[in-house]
Each structure stands twice: as structure tokens, then as C-alpha cells.
């Protein structure tokens, strides 16, 4: 009988220890925070040309003058902004089907959104 009793005491002992550990963990979690750092964008370094084309207002003919933009692509850009609203950032031009990252980089300093 005695041995059985001992086991029960042991059980509670472990449970209390576990509880203490949990509290310790919470304490650890509460202290363990990383401070907030400011964000980053890659846009800052672009230098826009003075006569940059506004891709939100320019008609298709004007868009065609951009490097590597043909009549079809210009039309697509116009359709895109009619359907989904103005481009909020020049980079969003990449979302137009057919404009790749490389293609955009060739003309990114020639366009603006406002």
C-alpha cells in the first residue's frame, strides 16, 4: 500500500512542476519580443525623367511611344486601367499581362502615376 501512495504523491509533484514550468514559459514569451523595425521599399532609387508619361491619363498613342510598347500592349494597358482602376504605383504596370520585370525596368524612369 505504501508504495502506491508514494506514486500518487509523485504524480502531483510532477503536475505542480509542470505548472510552474508553464508559468515560466509564459514569462519567457512575455519578455521575448523583438522591436519593430521600419519597412523597406526598392522604389526610392528610381529617378524619374521630367517628361515622364502618366500611365493613368495618357492615351494609348502616347503609351506606344514608350520603349518596347506596341499598339497592342498600349491597348492592353488602357483596358487594364479601365477595368481595375488607376495604377496607384508605377510598378503596378507589371501586373498587366505581357509586361515582365525586365521590360518594366527599361521604362520605369519614363513613367509616373501622378
Amino acid at each position: 500500500m505504501a508504495s502506491i501512495k508514494l506514486h500518487y504523491i509523485n504524480n502531483y509533484d510532477y503536475l505542480i512542476k509542470l505548472l510552474a514550468l508553464l508559468i515560466f514559459c509564459f514569462f519567457l514569451v512575455a519578455c521575448n519580443k523583438k522591436e519593430t523595425k521600419p519597412g523597406l521599399t526598392l522604389r526610392a532609387k528610381v529617378q524619374r525623367a521630367e517628361n515622364a508619361v502618366n500611365i493613368n491619363t495618357a492615351p494609348a498613342e502616347e503609351l506606344e511611344k514608350l520603349p518596347n510598347i506596341g499598339a497592342k500592349m498600349a491597348q492592353r494597358i488602357v483596358e487594364h486601367r479601365e477595368k481595375y482602376g488607376d495604377f496607384r504605383k508605377p510598378e503596378h504596370l507589371i501586373l498587366v499581362q505581357g509586361i515582365s520585370d525586365t521590360r518594366f525596368r527599361e521604362l520605369q524612369n519614363l513613367i509616373k502615376t501622378e
Binding site: 506514486h7 509523485n10 504524480n11 510532477y14 512542476k17 514550468l21 514569451v29 521575448n32 519580443k33 523583438k34 522591436e35 519593430t36 523595425k37 521600419p38 519597412g39 523597406l40 521599399t41 526598392l42 522604389r43 487594364h80 481595375y84 482602376g85 488607376d86 496607384r88 504605383k89 510598378e91 503596378h92 507589371i94 501586373l95 515582365s100 520585370d101 518594366f104 520605369q108
Partner: protein, 904 residues
Amino acid sequence: MNGEKSSKNFTLCPLFWLAAFFALGILAGKYFETGWKISLVFCLVCQLLATVFYKQKSAVIFISFAFAAAGTFCFQIKNQTISASRIKRIYDESRIKSGEPVEIEGVLRGKFEEAVGGFFIEIQTEKLIYKNEAQKVSGKVRLFAPISNEQIAQEYEQLNLRYGSNISAACNLVREDKFQNPGVVSRKEILDQQEVDAICTIKSPLLVEKIADEESFASMVWLYEIRKNLIKDFREKFSVSTAGIMIASLLGNKYFLDKPTSELFREGGTFHVLVISGLHITFIGGLTLLFLRFFTRRRFWQFLIAGSFLWAYSIAVGADVPVVRATIMFTVLLFSQVIYRTGNLLNSLGLCALSLLVWRPEDLFTQSFQLTFTSVLAIVAFAFPLIENLRAIGEWRPAVETPFPPNVSAALKRFCETLYWRAEAWEIESKQQIWSAKIFKSPYLKIFQSKGLQDIVRYLFEGILVSLIVQIWLLPLTIYYFHRVSIASILLNLWVGLFIALESFAAIIALVFAQFSDILALPLVKLTELLNWILLSLPLLFVENNWAGVRVPVYSGAMKAVYPVYFVPILILTILLSRWNPFVLISNKDGKFVSKYIVLFSFSLLLLFSILIVFHLYSAPRADGRLRVDFLDVGQGDSALITFPNGETLLVDGGGKPNLNNFYVRREGEEPEAFEPDAAAIGESVVSEFLWERGYSQIDYILATHADADHLQGLSEVAKNFRVRAAFFGRMPEKDEDFAGLYRILQKRKIEIFKLKRGDVLTFDKGIVEVLYPEADDSPDAVSANNHSIVLRIIFGTKKFLLTGDIEKETENFLAQNPQFLQSDVVKVAHHGSRTSSIQPFIDATKAEYAIISVGRTSPFGHPHKEVSQRWQAAGARVLTTGERGTISVSTDGKDLLIERFLR
């Protein structure tokens, strides 16, 4: 003795049964769509009744019902109360269409998963901007950022995206099903299982902005950092194959596995060792425990340290559901040790299952949950008790509890003794006793023990036995999900398990050494590569000789019940095994006879069911005298299955991916190695799956119209997975890479090849196939481009079908010169509805009733072109596209014409 008596009334594993009832409840919730409130009320009522009648036997029934209802409730409340702002719902209700440009904002949670050629991140979304209007959203999305050049890599480096970053990204979010054919797993379902609402590819780093680094646990960030660095180290030090295996099996990132290596594991039925799950957690946990025993014998500390190490590990490897599941399981088992409840493994397993199902009830329907639990159950409920009994028989010596020898057949007794009898132990023991006895044991023992063979043979026997039992339990699951039966996997699992463990040790030690000196690490790196070679050599031997396994189709319709019914004899055997006590003397002769009878009966039933599902005797559809053409939805590509009135099958084209990206992996001071990502091929994941679902293991004939990848590539997988009698080609351009690949497989499998040319006529029963194009050209340099496609007209009774491949204007023009050969009821529009085909004279000549366009929902080439559809419609044809309708099936008895679509 008292304990044994009471066990008749009290089960030793109550939690197991409760978990089983909970699972049944979830199952019920899936099929009966009652509201969650009803289930809740039912659950509470049952609970109340159980409390009221707690002293009577009926309480057990009420408790069981209460748990089942709780299961239903848990499942329903999760499904019926999805917030309206969940991205999943926004897309399912078409408030935003899949593929439209949006901008999302959210926190990078979960995994940052590097891959060859890019990386994956998962974002917990908070805000979504659509048509310049912001809305609050929730749900996880997965983004893939391809890295195609050095500049892009650097820019992402600058952004320094990490766990806890708050970012915004402009992209075309996608949540849609592709390849909608019967038998093909829905993409949405896969995403839902991963708890990802939508996916997309980021076209450029310029579209990503980091708003801020949110507050997050430093330790989490630190764990992910370590993992990232380890992946980098593995990739720098080891070859593609070794690094892929190590990164997948130790760090839980499968994107570095190349296709040939993973196929080798799949074909041998051992792919599961590459996914971190129960096996790894048990291995690592067990190793940690073993290590800890050197330092402390207190179970509490062992539990604590091993537990926290395992949890840290499982979080670091990305906290995928299977890993977390295994870790919970291990923690529970370990914890039961701490509180000295070592009695019943089955009970602990029940607790795991119960807690997991409360957490994620829908997991019950996932492959990985079913596979994990079935295999663990097989081990815990069958393999361990069996081995325990065999050991008891083998080790028997007269004792107070077991005064008589085991009551089993002599052969079994000898066998067990050979494995388990310990002569030395008996010698020592008999010296201590005041009495002496001479025990006769197996005569082979002496040879065995003298050479130390016994231990090795025993380990081998136990390993194979466990592996075999697991395979038997998993048989219906592996067939249903993977369409694979592999007897070799019983052996290969042991081999792969052993060598992957050795390889891991070597690799880790090599990495530790490499921190100090590369020269020091070199021999270990070489050793790891050698172990990797040994690891792969046996599976390779099996695969090369076609011993690895066979692919089998599945039953559909009512015969599907054979898969769950398979478990009935297994269950009976398990229960009998749990009651088997080899030391009980015959007390009830009839009882023994009955149980023997039941064992025999269950075994024969099990055998019968396994023959039924392995040899799939009745899975293929019977010939019904109709000609049937199924146009599969293979995305951008063609594939059509023709079933002739006598049941013969001809597969015209097999789809395929137009451009699979292969990469080159460069390491310092080594030659660049080609890397083929382990992406599912259309021929395997769409065409073969469709054919298996139909119940076929044999496709009589395959035909490639021309050698473009989107027509021909998928046929390679079909030729690998099915028995094929012959293959037809128009031209055989041996220099074409895709064609050469298929040609090699055909030759290896000794499949006859026939060349077709204009004017040939093939007859299949009452179905006639006319070959209208191309002209013969036997030179090996002949190109097989769009305009050299085979054009077929299939005639049965008065009905005609025209299959055009990818022919363009010129060929159409040529064919339209003899319009009487073109007249057809159903036409597969040439070249996916491109404007380069379907000229007016050709359309007019066909006089088609149905024009079927085989094209994806969204095509990179803008197929089908609007004017083409309009032209067909103007000519009076109904235009159907596979992208919109899924599989389109047309059948005829020679007079009528029935059309079925997979999607309405």
C-alpha cells in the same frame, strides 16, 4: 489475476474508443448537412443522460453518442461559420475572380520556404485592395517569388523578408480548379487541406514592399534563421541528390528534391521517409531520450528536455500539420511515462487522435492523417502484441505464473525458440533454483547462438514483420491514393530507413566539422555521398528491373465499398490477437475450435479482399456496344480517350507541360548539375489518374498526333503506368527531345510501334478509324510540327468524329479539297482554337454539330481566340471547351449522340 478479470468489463483503452466515436461523428457531419446547433444540443442531451444514468451500463452508450455528436459539431462549426471576409469565401463567391490583379497586405507567418529558382512565403492577410478599394480580409495565402537573375536575388535580399515581416504585395491571386476530370484531385481541396486560401506568383520584387518588421518572438526568428543557414550549408557541401534528401528528411523542405530521386522513392513505396512525420519524430525523440539518459535518470527532466527539443525542432521545420501531429503523439506517449501510465499504447494513441481531431476535424479526410494513424495503429494494435506473444512463447521457462509450456503448435514453438530463447539466462536462473529441470528447445538453436546470428536474425525478422503488417493495413489506402502496390516496399522500407539514418548522422557531423575546416569535413562529405549512393542503389535495382511494384486502378461506384470493408477481417483478427494468451490451457474445447475457425475465415476473407483490390478484377467498365470519346481537360494541350464498342481503348495524345523549367545548380569548385524539380507531370497527375479512376490498367493503343510537348509528353507516363499493346505515330523525329523520351520508354517496355499515313484505315470491332493526314515521310530527320499532325476520322454507324491535332491553315486548306471526307458530327477544333486554324472552308466541310476545343481555362496564348469560336457557332456548331466544362464525353450507339460534361 484480479486485473485480468476486471478487464472483461472495463476496456483498457477508453480514449481509443472515444476517439473512434468522435471520428465517426465527423464522418456523419460530412454526409448529413444538419446545422451545428442541432449537433450541439444532441451532444449536450446525451451528456446529460449519461450523467443521470451514470451508474448503469447505458451510460456507455450515451457517452459514445455524446462524443460522436461532439465530432459532428466540431466539424460543422468549422465549416459553417467561415467569416465572410475570408479570402476563400471572397473567391468562392466570385466577389473577385481568380487571377485578377489585387494588392494584399499581411504578416509573413509560417514558412519561408526556399526552393530552386525562387522561394515560397505564406502570408496571414489583413487587407486587400481590389479596384483601388481596400477591404479587410483574413486567411492565409501562399506566394511564390521566382528568382531568375542575380539582380532580383539581390533585391529580395535587400528586402530581407523574414518571419513576422509585415508586407504588401501586388499580384494576381488565384483560387481555382484546374484539370477538372473525374479522379483528379481538386486543387482547391489540396489548398484547403493546407489551410491556404489562395496562391499566386509575384512577377517582380518591385511589387513587394516591406511595411514593417512586426513584433515577434526572437526565438522563432532565430529558429528559422538556423534552418535557412543549414539549408544553405547542405546545398553547398553535397550533391543535388544528397542535399535534396537531407534537406527534405531533416529540415522538411521538399523543394530541393529532384525528380529522378523522388521518383525512385515513390516507386519503391518509401517516399514517406522524405516527409518529416512520425518516423522522424520517433527517431529523433528516441535518440534525444537515449542521450539524456546519460545525464539524468529522472523522467521529468527527460520528458521536459526531449519535449522542448522536439517542439523546437517541429517549429523550426515549418510546423506542418504532419510534424505537429507526430510531435503531439510523441509528447503524449512520453507524458504517460512521466505519470507512470505506461500501460496501454492504444490509449495514448486515442488521446492523440482525439486532441488532433478537435483541433482540425477536417484532417480526418486527408491522406496523411489516414496513413499516419493506420500505420501507427497497425504497429500498436497488431505488430507489438504479436511480437510480444511470440517472444513469450520463445522465452518460456517454468515459472509461477506460467507453469506449463505454451499451448501452441510445435512448429511455431520451435520457430519462436530459435529467435528468442536465451540459454545463458536460463543457465544462471537454473543454478539459483533449488530444483532443476531439463528443457528441450529447438535443435537449431546451437548453430544460431554460437555465431551470434540470433540477434541479427531476430532484428531482421521483427523489422520485416512490422513492415509487412503495416503494408497489409495500408494496402487499400496506398491503392486508393497512390494506385500502387509494392511488395518490394516491405524490404525497401527497412533498407531506406537504416541508410537514411546513417546518412543523416554522417551529414550532420560533416556539417559540424565543416564549421572548422573544409579539409577535415571532406572525408565525411565523401562518406555521406557514398551512403547516399548505397541508399539509392537498392531501390534503383528494383526499379530498373520492374520489381518495385505495379500501378493499379481503383473501383468506382458501389464497388468502392471494398476499401473500407477490407478492414473488417483485419479488425476481427486484431481483436482475436488481443485475446490470445498462448499459456492458457484448453479449458473450453469448443471455444478454441470456434476461434480457430474465425481466424481461418478472417484470413481467407482478407486474402479475398486483397486479391479483389490488387487484381482489380471488376474495375474496368464492361463493353456496352457504344463508341465513346472523352476529351480530357489537360489545360493547354490535347488528350482524348476513345473507347470502341467492344471495349478496346485508344488514347489520342496525352497532354503535357509546354515548358518544364530545368535549372542548373552550381556549387563552388564543381561542375554545374542539372536539376529537374519534382513537379507533377500532366501525364501522371491528370491523364493517368483519369484512366485509373475509370478502372483501366491497360490502354490498348496510344497515338501521338505530332511531337509537341502538350500532346506527346503525357504519353510517356501513360506508357509507363499502363500495359500498352501498340503505339501509333505519323512521323518519328528522333532528334526531338520529347519524342526521344517516349521512344525510349516504348522500346524498354517492348511496345510495338506502327506508322500511320494518309489513306490508312484501322478497324476496331465495328469502329472504323480513317487516317486523313499526313503523307508518309520515313526519314529520321522528318519534323513533326503542327502541320504534320495526324488527322483522324472515327466512324461508327452513322456517326463520325474528327480529331485534328494541331493542324493549321495550310493543312486544313489541303484537306478541304475533299470535303466529303471531313463531314463529321463532332469535331475537335484544331490547335486549341487558335486563329491560325479553323478556316471557313474547313468548318463548312465538317458540317459539325459539336465543336470541342481542348484548352485550359486560361491559356498563355489567349486560346481559344474569340473569332474562332464565333466562326464555328456561325456554322451551326455548339462550341464546348474543356477548360470550362472539364472532361467532355461524347458517346454513340451508331445512331444517337449523347454528350456529358464533368461540370455543368
